[in-house]
Symmetry: C2
Subunit: 187 residues, 2 copies
DNA sequence: CAGTTAAGCGGACGAATGTCCGTTACGCTG
DNA sequence: CAGCGTAACGGACATTCGTCCGCTTAACTG
């Protein structure tokens, strides 16, 4: 039962929506809740219904905009674990997340959203799975506390998406440090 | 230059708006972003403009709904500090916050909002000040890390307002524990 | 009490969101 | 290539938000 490929016009429209959303996110400083979907549809030259048909919620749209970033964050976990102890791997991974989020503020919001909804059709972008791997390896090594799962951490990392634009440098690293230290297992 | 007292009808309308908002929040499980202001105005039997005149944003409205809770959380800090070491006082205070938030899910959202806007006319409800006192005393005692301020902690506590209804028991205490342990200063 | 002032009102209005129905046009098949 | 099925479309519509203007009325003063 092979599903038919999307129509060519739908593929083009979808790409145009994503492109317009990406530009609008840059314009709004990565503010997902400030993303005006009507304006995105207009800029993409599609009707409003078309936008919602492709992306049922704004989270779906943002997740698609940042698909590449999510993939990279997920794919970097095995290499970090291969080269570093689990806790250090976790720290380096969080630093990488900070780098992404510094430039593209919507990434954290996309991560938050993807923790609660299955926004991608495959596991390649399941950042919660990747993060869970880091936590599991850390716990197995006795360096990360048990009883915390990836969703908990994503909830906490959500704080990053709420830092005002002008306070990123003052707060972001501190937040991640507190979270990381809270995850440590001290003996 | 004494300011005139509010008119009697305005006082009544304001109280009706708050009462309707409180009921609506209970109905929606404390979801602030799901609070429909038009419905609140209608239920309160006031015009839409009247609602916005009294409460310019939904955060102002929610802050008023939970004014009593905020006062109690603020006022409990000196007593906790008088009877316990700072870190333990902080822990007990966070436990108290959890109790409030368990029953009234909008309390954390009100705290979040009040960290960024001056929503109360006095300092009696400045929860960020109260929390800062706990952090300062803890740092002075060498038990809480330095370089973290109340706003950082409030950002992190924002995770609580995003825990889905059915997962509170599974996650809330863990989140607060991670935050608290991240705030500790280990030597 | 009457007159005045301005606090406070209601709801019309435009913008934005999300839904859905009639129409269009893409892609497949014979 | 023509015809058919249906994927996909545009945009009207109702709802909600937030603003603002003309009107109402509460409160003060002489």
């Amino acid at each position: 039962m092979p599903t038919r490929a999307p129509r060519a016009d739908a593929v083009v429209n979808r790409a145009r929506i994503v492109s317009s959303a990406r530009a609008a996110l840059v314009e709004s400083g990565g503010s997902v809740e400030g993303l005006r979907l009507q304006a995105v549809a207009k800029d993409a030259q599609v009707g409003q219904g078309t936008l919602y048909r492709h992306f049922p919620t704004r989270e779906h749209l943002v997740a698609e905009v940042y698909r590449q970033e999510m993939t990279e964050l997920v794919q970097t976990v095995p290499a970090l674990l291969a080269e570093h102890p689990p806790l250090q791997a976790l720290e380096l991974w969080l630093d990488r997340l900070l780098e992404y989020a510094r430039v593209k503020r919507g990434v954290v919001a996309a991560i938050e959203a993807s923790a609660w909804q299955d926004l991608y059709a495959d596991n390649e972008h399941r950042l919660d799975h990747a993060l869970q791997t880091l936590l599991d390896e850390g716990a197995a090594a006795g360096a990360v506390r048990e009883g915390v799962d990836a969703t908990d951490v994503i909830l906490l990392l959500g704080a990053l998406s709420r830092v005002p634009e002008g306070q990123w440098d003052a707060r972001a690293h501190t937040l991640v440090t507190v979270i990381l230290d809270g995850l440590r297992r001290y003996r």
